[in-house]
Symmetry: C2
Subunit: 320 residues, 2 copies
């Protein structure tokens, strides 16, 4: 199965990385791909080993002022309160109707600090929001939302919130034989309707958090519906487990931006093959958002392990 891509006409055309400034991050990427192709004097890496995994929120698209999926959920919460006023005094519906974004922001801070008590309260709401909905209906809702809703501050639709340099990187890797996967804490079925269009990542390569599903043969062809129970929260140590379960290999490339990506980056290790670990640093408040909250631990690991830190401010000529 070993195919020498260096000789196969598949191009390692680094000029595709047009939004990357010449610097250490771009150089690390190009040198890594050269090694994978076998154009650095070493044997090419077999095609089937060319696996790349990327977090989504804050790595491939914008996650501030709130994760895009949270906006989707909040709109559903508002619908639910309109249908049932008794929800108004219970979290997470209370914070929703009172526009108490501090509650949501605090629960993310708590989560990265290791306290998931409020995450569970939010999750309870999320699970109630789509209980009994079929996977096809859910997909329609998510698809419509992502194609019509707009980012609250960036003056662009959500489908234009992907980072252009990362989209170029995905295309560069794909052109060099990589299978790119999304390994996100966000919902698998939330992202699937748009990942191919947005990132060139087909739905079968989307790994993410998931809800427990139920099959019923009640209608011709059967139906799969959401149960009000989580299946996997694809974050932290669950990421390498879900990657293994889906792919059956350790990746060569991993990209992330937060503590929840630490284990995935750590797992991206081979003793006999080149690897590339990328950590996106949100240091550009002018063009995007400036924050390292929730990334303290992974930044320490990056510096200790020599992973490639990508400065949005210095390494990218444009963000979107």
């Amino acid at each position: 199965m070993t195919e020498n891509v260096a000789d196969s006409g598949v191009g390692s055309d680094a000029v595709g990385l047009v939004s990357w400034r010449d610097g250490s991050a771009r150089q690390a990427i190009v040198e890594f791909v050269d090694r994978v192709r076998g154009s650095a004097g070493t044997p090419p890496v077999p095609i089937e080993e060319r696996i790349a995994v990327f977090d989504n929120d804050g790595t491939l698209w914008c996650e501030k002022p709130m994760p895009i999926q949270l906006d989707f959920i909040l709109r559903r919460f508002a619908e639910m309160v309109a249908a049932d006023e008794s929800l108004r005094d219970r979290q997470p519906w209370k914070a929703t109707v009172e526009h108490d974004y501090g509650w949501f922001s605090q629960l993310l801070t708590d989560h990265y600090g290791g306290d998931d008590s409020q995450v569970k309260v939010l999750l309870g709401g999320v699970l109630a929001a789509y209980a009994g909905v079929t996977v096809e209906e859910f997909e329609k809702k998510s698809d419509t939302f992502l194609r019509t809703a707009r980012h609250p501050t960036l003056d662009r639709g959500y489908l234009e919130c992907g980072y252009r340099p990362m989209i170029e990187l995905l295309a560069y890797l794909a052109a060099n034989g990589f299978a790119n996967y999304i390994a996100s804490g966000g919902g698998r079925d939330f992202m699937r309707p748009v990942t191919n269009e947005l990132y060139g990542v087909p739905r079968e390569r989307v790994i993410g958090s998931s809800t427990t599903l139920s099959y019923s043969g009640d209608v011709p062809g059967g139906s799969i519906t959401h149960l009000p129970a989580p299946e996997f929260l694809d974050d932290g140590p669950e990421k390498p487990i879900r990657i293994w379960s889906r792919v059956g290999r350790r990746p060569l490339v991993a990209g992330g931006n937060s503590n929840g990506d630490s284990e995935m980056l750590e797992f991206t290790r081979h003793t006999d093959l080149p690897t590339l670990r990328l950590l996106i640093l949100h240091d550009d408040p002018d063009r995007e958002f400036g924050y390292t909250s929730g990334a303290e631990r992974v930044l320490e690991s990056a510096h200790r392990e020599g992973w490639t830190v990508v400065s949005m401010k210095d390494d990218w000529t444009t963000v979107f």
Copy 2:
């Protein structure tokens, strides 16, 4: 993404089905593929929709006198008894050392009849057998076993127990743009080391039963180990759920042979695209094994729904 394969040079060369006798089953396959390719006057089916799913035990390879994975497990049980004599009086080790195959055969009969009490006893032993083993170590054991152990009665190695006509069918579908998946009740990580070689199905397209896994960052690169807890038993209604979770689409093609494949076959339904549902009938005791036990319900569905029943005796010129 719609690619007209009829025009792309990829062949629908039915002569690849050399081990299929001319008859209604072969004809159903060829006519289906012609429709998918758009050579029957209808528009070609978009490549990304060309998803095929196959059960493994009894559909792609032999499952009698016992599933191949059961032989693997029994050998491990014998090792465990040698290391700990106290297991000798407990099931499933007791049946193993006493060569009481009736116990194993009865639990499968009970399972297809809806009683999983003894399946759970066996599963407890299976889970204990590899608790604490890393996924890489497990893969080595499975790989070695499958490449060295021989079928107890057929005078062939397990790697030669795949059904030749089905291997030809997988190749024919792949040549016509299909992504073939294995959706088996057998263990995902048990099959993965050999599916590409045996069936041309790469490891990321193997869906199967799985053990709960645990990630630890204790060693560089981290390690993933088996916990003594099931994750999914990929059988019955769980099959469509696992297919959806992995692929995110309904298949066009499904192949199975037992009641546990009923829901997967049922789920393989589109209102606007052609589908092919195959049920392998084990009616050839001379060349393989003759049995319909555990397939009563799915055979009824096949006749009622018009699925294609494949007679091993009449439709195949050779089995292996």
